[in-house]
């Protein structure tokens, strides 16, 4: 009985962190669909989300306000990366490899700059709602977990509406289907690129803010999160935002179960094994890739 | 002797039938051509023969041996080599090196040979270079050997691709629209080069739009329309064929060139 509730707890925690992976994975898809670029700086957005919020909160800014300011700041960072790093290469029609390398380098620059500014000590945030966890069948459900689930669901519905109903969202989808045709219809493809970076950076920041109270953040958490997000996107079928979210849940669950049965040292190994398994056996993911 | 024989070749892309039940054979001697309007399925046919896209149905025989479903590199090694409708040169390499790469299947040196350079490897390298210069002379690019391939004008790029394919010493050379984008004078020169290649003993099969080139150069013509073979025969026979004239929308002006 005790073991069973421990398993339940494991599954719950896995799904909760899976939501975070899913949000990051959606960020990959948003940029990929708008441009065909795989942005390896995605993890930096997540790290900055937690880190900037931490800095603001420690300056006594109320949490909600701090979070809002952070999301805007990180979205700006996204646009800056797009302008400074991605755009010149995009204009030169650089190879996919060069693009990946440049965004990976941008990730490292941001990471190291953060190290210099805030140091290498892990930081954390207070939970959003400071109440004792709810109990259900012996499983403790923390309020932060509810925040993660709730925010993720709201974000996914909002994104769905954005892509289906708004003009901008539809233009972005048109770019995803066929960039040349979209350009011929008068859609400013280059604006879409900047917008996709802003959107995906904002999503990454939200993921970072949500997850930091349950773990911690440090200058170097970006890369593992980026890889998990990428795996989520692959598992869901690259280029499918909703698939990426499902992929995130799958990955979170698989990871939690691996840790449950094999020990916590294998957390990263489990994720990387899931990645290789999908790459080798089913590269189009569970839903089939978008193109 | 029959160089190439295709039997009931069919290719479907989902619902679209790009080739349907195409059967013909090509003699070892002379120049043959596949003609037909845009989208008739000519390139698709080349892709099936050269192993780049396996046929949905049907079989391909090269020198009376079946090659259906073999990998392109294996087919090339046997002596069937094709060029592409859109030139696929190695743009960042010199003109000479492009042709030297073509010698791959006729040479043997591997990693160890490259590192230790025994006498036979040095001889092989020298012969590769010499043969490549000869082929450049054949297509009239001898003076451009050291230029970067990407810096050649378009017409010369097409000739370089032919020289590179010839470097494999092919028994059958398949050219996909070699005259596309060439001017009158260049087309004339191309026609001569193709004849010379044929005279040297290589079977040539070309896809062409330029009727002047086809009628002047080819001995045997296969006509495709909507993926089907609608006629086959000598140039004069084809020029008189009713179905062919119709397929070209009464385009007699194309045919009497």
């Amino acid at each position: 009985m005790l073991d069973l509730s421990f398993l339940g707890q494991t599954i719950l925690n896995g799904l909760s962190v899976g939501c975070i992976y899913g949000l990051i994975g959606i960020g990959f898809c948003v940029i990929y669909n708008a441009s065909g670029i795989v942005n390896f700086a995605q993890g930096a957005f997540v790290m900055l989300g937690g880190m900037i919020t931490y800095v603001l909160v420690s300056l006594n800014v109320p949490l909600i306000l701090a979070a809002a300011i952070t999301i805007i700041c990180v979205a700006l960072v996204g646009v800056i990366i797009e302008r400074i790093v991605v755009r010149p290469l995009w204009d030169r029609k650089a190879t996919m490899f060069v693009m990946i390398l440049a965004t990976l380098a941008a990730q490292i620059v941001i990471e190291r700059a953060t190290l210099i500014v805030v140091g290498d000590q892990p930081k954390s945030l207070p939970v959003f709602t400071d109440l004792p966890p709810l109990r259900l069948f012996g499983i403790a459900i923390g309020y932060q977990t509810l925040w993660i689930f709730g925010t993720s669901i709201v974000l996914i519905i909002a994104l769905g509406l954005f892509f289906q109903k708004t003009l901008v969202g539809r233009a972005m989808r048109a770019c995803a289907i066929n960039r040349e045709a979209a350009a011929l219809q008068g859609i400013q493809v280059s604006h879409m690129l900047a917008l996709s970076f802003a959107l995906s950076a904002g999503l990454g920041a939200i993921a970072g803010i949500l997850v930091t109270p349950t773990q911690f953040t440090a200058f170097n958490v970006g890369t593992p999160f980026a890889i998990s997000g990428f795996i989520a996107a692959i598992v869901g079928g690259f280029g499918r935002p909703f698939g990426a979210f499902l992929g995130g849940l799958t990955l979170g669950l698989a990871q939690a179960l691996a840790v449950y049965s094999l020990g916590s040292g294998l957390k990263n190994m489990a994720a990387l094994s899931v990645l290789l398994l999908f790459l080798f056996l089913r590269p189009s993911g569970i839903l089939g890739s978008a193109k | 002797m029959i160089r190439l024989r295709v039997e009931h070749l069919t290719k479907r892309f989902g619902g679209l039938v790009a080739n349907s039940d195409v059967t013909f054979s090509i003699n070892a001697a002379g120049v043959s051509a596949v003609i037909g309007p845009n989208g008739a399925g000519k390139t698709t046919l080349f892709n099936m023969i050269s192993g780049f896209s396996p046929p949905t149905e049907g079989r391909v025989f090269f020198n009376e041996q079946e090659i259906t479903g073999l990998e392109p590199e294996e087919i090339a090694t046997r002596g069937l080599v094709r060029t592409f409708q859109l030139t696929q040169l190695f743009q960042n390499q010199s003109v000479l090196e492009n042709v030297m790469i073509g010698r791959h299947v006729r040479t043997k040196a591997g990693v160890i040979g490259a590192l230790l350079r025994p006498r036979w490897v040095r001889d092989e390298e020298r012969q590769t270079e010499q043969r490549s210069h000869e082929l450049l002379d054949l297509v009239g690019l001898g003076a451009q050997a050291d230029m970067l391939a990407s810096t050649l004008p378009y017409g010369q790029q097409r000739l370089l691709e032919i020289a590179r394919a010839m470097a494999t010493d092919p028994q059958l050379l398949m050219l996909d629209e070699p005259a596309a984008g060439l001017n009158h004078e260049e087309t004339e020169k191309l026609s001569q080069i193709i004849r010379r290649i044929s005279d040297l003993g290589t079977t040539v099969l070309l896809i062409e739009h330029d009727m002047r080139l086809v009628m002047n150069t080819a001995d045997h013509i296969v006509v495709l329309n909507f993926g089907r073979k609608i006629a086959e025969g000598s140039p004069s026979h084809i020029q008189a064929d009713k179905d062919v004239i119709e397929a070209y929308l009464g385009g007699t002006e194309m045919l009497d060139a």
């Binding site: 990387l272 | 790469i101 073509g102 394919a165």
Partner: protein
């Protein structure tokens, strides 16, 4: 011999093309002669020259992608470290065992991985590098985890050991020269031509009878062997190995060197490794800034000078050409 201005300037250009490589070689010679602190820095640069030369064969010549070559440096490094420090093997035998193990691993890893394309290939290779890192951390009984392995003996055969800094540097220089010579020989051969062919167009290469998969895999294995050798040299020179030394930062550093020196050129790895190796020396006191500077340098190079220092002559040519008409209009 005519000495018209045209031939002189073309000779100058040819000299300019080789200037960076000559300068880098000069730096190595200076370090050997000087024997001071610079020896460590240049030695580090030479070890990386070998690693980057291998990367260059797979990426520069064959035009493929791998973010995981650190995995093979790690296998070479740990094989040497464990076999010599823990089991007392002679260094040369341990190095050979490491190379064989690396080649086998590269084959087993490369066979399924090189079927992938684009960002799938990029991510799969990145994952392989990360997995090896995790193995180095988690397989404590062999690797000693984060603590690493120390007490690795110096290189040597029998009683002859390379103990002095200068002897080690001369040995490293010989190894680097051999690596670059092998790279040059490979490039200018039937094998190297097949690699540049598949890099240019896989379809055209296949149409000419080149077995693209086989050549990619061979280039991958050769590149891994280079990495293994550099890993082995590293542990014997430093005497210590830990997972941090073979992580992602190694990959970024190597890419920066490759692009600074000039990807696809034979001497590019030497130029890049020496230049980037010396870079932190000028900003020694700011160790934290090191990776920041590498990353920023890499971005700038990718954007503004994708040909690296090796293409300096092209840049100069362009400058001269744009300046020439300006002179004509001047009174």
């Amino acid at each position: 011999m005519t000495n018209s201005p045209a031939t002189i300037s073309s000779k100058l250009m040819a000299a300019l093309r080789h200037a960076p490589a000559i300068a880098a070689a000069g730096m190595v010679a200076y370090a050997i002669a000087d024997g001071g602190y610079i020896v460590t820095v240049v030695g580090f640069g030479l070890i990386y020259t070998i690693f980057v030369a291998g990367l260059n064969i797979f990426m520069g010549y064959a035009g493929q992608t791998s973010f995981g070559q650190n995995a093979f440096a790690a296998i070479g490094a740990y094989a040497s470290a464990v076999l010599t420090a823990t089991y007392g093997w002679p260094p040369l035998l341990a190095a050979l065992a490491g190379i064989v193990a690396t080649a086998i691993c590269a084959f087993v890893i490369g066979y399924p991985t090189l079927r992938l394309k684009g960002h799938y290939l990029a991510m799969a290779t990145l994952a392989i590098g990360l997995i090896i890192y995790e193995v180095a951390v988690q397989w404590q009984s062999v690797t000693n985890g984060y603590m690493g392995i120390s007490g690795i003996p110096a290189l040597g055969i029998g009683h002859y050991e390379l103990l002095s800094d200068r002897a080690q540097l001369i040995f490293l220089a010989i190894m680097a020269v051999l690596s670059l010579a092998a790279s040059w020989l490979l490039r200018h051969s039937r094998f190297g031509r097949a690699l540049v062919a598949l890099s240019g167009s896989e379809d055209a290469a296949r149409a000419l009878g080149i077995n693209v998969r086989q050549y990619k895999l061979t280039a991958f294995i050769i590149s891994a062997i280079y990495a293994s050798i550099s890993g082995t040299l590293f542990v014997h020179i430093v005497g210590f190995i830990s997972p941090e030394m073979i992580g992602m930062n190694m990959v970024i550093l190597a890419f920066t060197m490759l692009y600074v020196g000039g990807i696809g050129t034979t001497t590019g790895p030497l130029i890049g490794a020496i230049v980037i190796g010396l870079l932190p020396e000028s900003i020694r006191s700011f160790k934290d800034y090191q990776d920041l500077v590498y990353g920023a340098a890499l971005i700038l190079i990718l954007i503004y000078a994708p040909g690296g220092i090796a293409s300096l002559d092209q840049v100069v040519k362009k400058l001269l050409r744009t300046k020439a008409p300006a002179k004509e209009v001047a009174p």
